[in-house]
């Protein structure tokens, strides 16, 4: 029997409450920067959570997850540039495009294992990066400015910072709920079983690749949504969001927070982006501190922050 009140759950509740109440704080203090920063954090938390679904639960170490950020973003950007501003059209296209991309590269990549899988997903993301760089009509290397955010009629106004923040937050919570349901379903059990012992699962009669592929597509689709939100947040999309270091950032968030824990990637995204923000204010050379810090976390902090909280919970 797991105790309901422990450090890990307390932290999760605190974070959820903090995220929900943040606009209240910013409107009282007038600190609009915090709202902008946290909108970004919430979007990356959604992307990291989707990566966690395949990496933490599925054991698929994808090093090309940022590709979906770009695909979702370009779906919004290209449609906006062509004069189709309706979010009711843009978002489904972003999701569909990401799902299709995930289906194709997943079907090819999942033939490989281990380090080969890391490399082939990386290669596909780099391919997407070069395709975007070659889109001369949509800005090429320089990226594409989005002059009007996705239009949802009178339902919600994305140009209103608070409304947009709550939309992103709703997407994050929705995404986490979906991932939670997936992970705890029969389907999720099979995927986790494949991570632990593929040979045994296959012997029982589960088609390994088909389950993995479905999981891969779900994760890609969720990350595509994050990409569409990110493009709306920055009013801009460029090939740089798909660059391999972005995929690395997402991986760092997941591992920092704790792989294979539902809430870990959210904590990871918050800590990583706040650290980046904080260190870049302290010194111009913030990465000189962040880099060795990552090394130390790998060397000494197994299981990430969530693992640490778990140990605290057990006392």
């Amino acid at each position: 029997m797991k105790a309901l009140f422990n450090v890990r759950n307390a932290v999760a509740v605190l974070i959820v409450a903090g995220l929900l109440l943040l606009p209240l704080y910013t409107s009282l203090s007038g600190n609009l920067f915090a709202l902008t920063l946290f909108t970004r954090i919430v979007i990356f938390a959604l992307a990291a959570a989707s990566l966690n679904l395949i990496m933490g639960y599925g054991g698929m170490m994808s090093f090309g997850h940022a590709a979906y950020l770009g695909i979702g973003g370009y779906a919004v950007g290209i449609l906006a540039a062509e004069g189709i501003g309706s979010g009711f059209f843009q978002i489904p296209v972003a999701l569909l495009a990401s799902a299709l991309f995930a289906l194709v590269i997943g079907a090819l990549s999942l033939r490989t294992r281990g380090v080969y899988f890391i490399m082939i997903t990386l290669a596909f993301a780099q391919m997407a990066y070069y395709v975007a760089s070659g889109l001369a009509r949509y800005g090429g290397d320089d990226g594409l400015t989005i002059y009007k955010r996705s239009d949802f009629g009178g339902l919600i106004n994305l140009s209103n910072r608070v409304q947009f923040y709550y939309l992103c937050l709703a997407c994050l919570f929705g995404g986490l709920y979906l991932i939670w349901r997936v992970v705890n379903s029969r389907f999720g059990m099979v995927v986790q079983g494949l991570r632990s012992n593929e040979a045994r699962m296959q012997a029982i009669g589960f088609p390994a690749t088909r389950y993995r592929l479905a999981c891969f597509v779900i994760a890609g689709t969720i990350c595509g949504l994050a990409g569409a939100l990110l493009a709306n947040n920055t009013d801009f999309v460029s090939p740089a969001v798909m660059y391999w270091t972005r995929s690395g950032d997402l991986m760092v968030m997941v591992i920092l927070g704790g792989m294979g824990s539902l809430f870990g990637p959210v904590i990871g995204a918050i800590v990583y982006l706040l650290l980046e923000e904080f260190l870049s204010q302290v010194t111009e050379y913030w990465a000189m501190i962040l880099g060795p810090l990552l090394l130390l976390i790998v060397l000494f902090g197994r299981g990430g922050i969530d693992g640490l909280l778990g140990r605290l919970s057990r006392g």
Partner: protein, 305 residues
Amino acid sequence: MLLVVEQFLNGLQFGLLLFLLAAGLTLVFGIMDFVNLAHGSLYMMGAYFAATFVAWTGSFILGVVLALGATLLLGIVLEFVALRHLYGRDHLDHVLATFGLILFFNDAVRLIWGPAGLALPLPAWLTVPVPILPGVHYPAYRLAIIVVALVVALLLYIVVMRTRLGMLIRAGASNREMIGALGINIKLLYTLVFGLGAALAGLAGMMQAPILTVQIGMGENILILAFVIIVIGGIGSIRGAFLAAIFVGMIDTLGRAFLPDLLRKILSSAAASTAAPALSSMLIYLLMAIVLVARPEGLFPANRR
């Protein structure tokens, strides 16, 4: 015809350069089972060391030799301080730790050498065009790269296949415990191999430096290419890395040189000139995808597993 020969040699030169980088990567992966993303940083550090030491000593050769020693030392220190504690861990840990190292090296370089790139000027005797065929001239420096890289590749082959050290390296790759039980200092051996890989990466960086500028992040794109090469060649196989490197170097160079003209025949000139660079960059990744789909272990899988 002239252009074809020249581009062919350029492709060979780029391929050999990529081989130096990929050889270190595949050695470290094949023997220590370690994924080193920071290999590109060592390539960058090699170039920066060379630019500094050449300016300092005033001699190209002396500067390059000093830089080679410095990169070797840096690799050994890096392995000793941090990376040796990661052997035997999950590959994901390697990726994360060395990703952190990339961040560190990029900013360290920015702090020490400043954000602007450096130039590594060539001495006069390396800039003359050399006649290679009647009426065909080729820059002496690029020719020198081809010669040096071929010599290094040969030396590497001799060391790994024909010496006692190479025998120990190969034995360490197939069974770490057994060679340790036979009284070989396996930790020292691993440190040496890592240093060797670092020096090879540094050599590639300093040889490429006079052709391109020495700048932050120069190791990142080429690192991905090196990964593509070892994946195509089969991880851990030096022979595979050699063949795949030449192949990738050729495709990349020839693609960049001739694809725009080819595309211009089908597309409008403006569309062709924007699509061609993207398409030629993609070609390599496409090649890798095809290879992995057909042969998931690479073209020349190392036969130890």
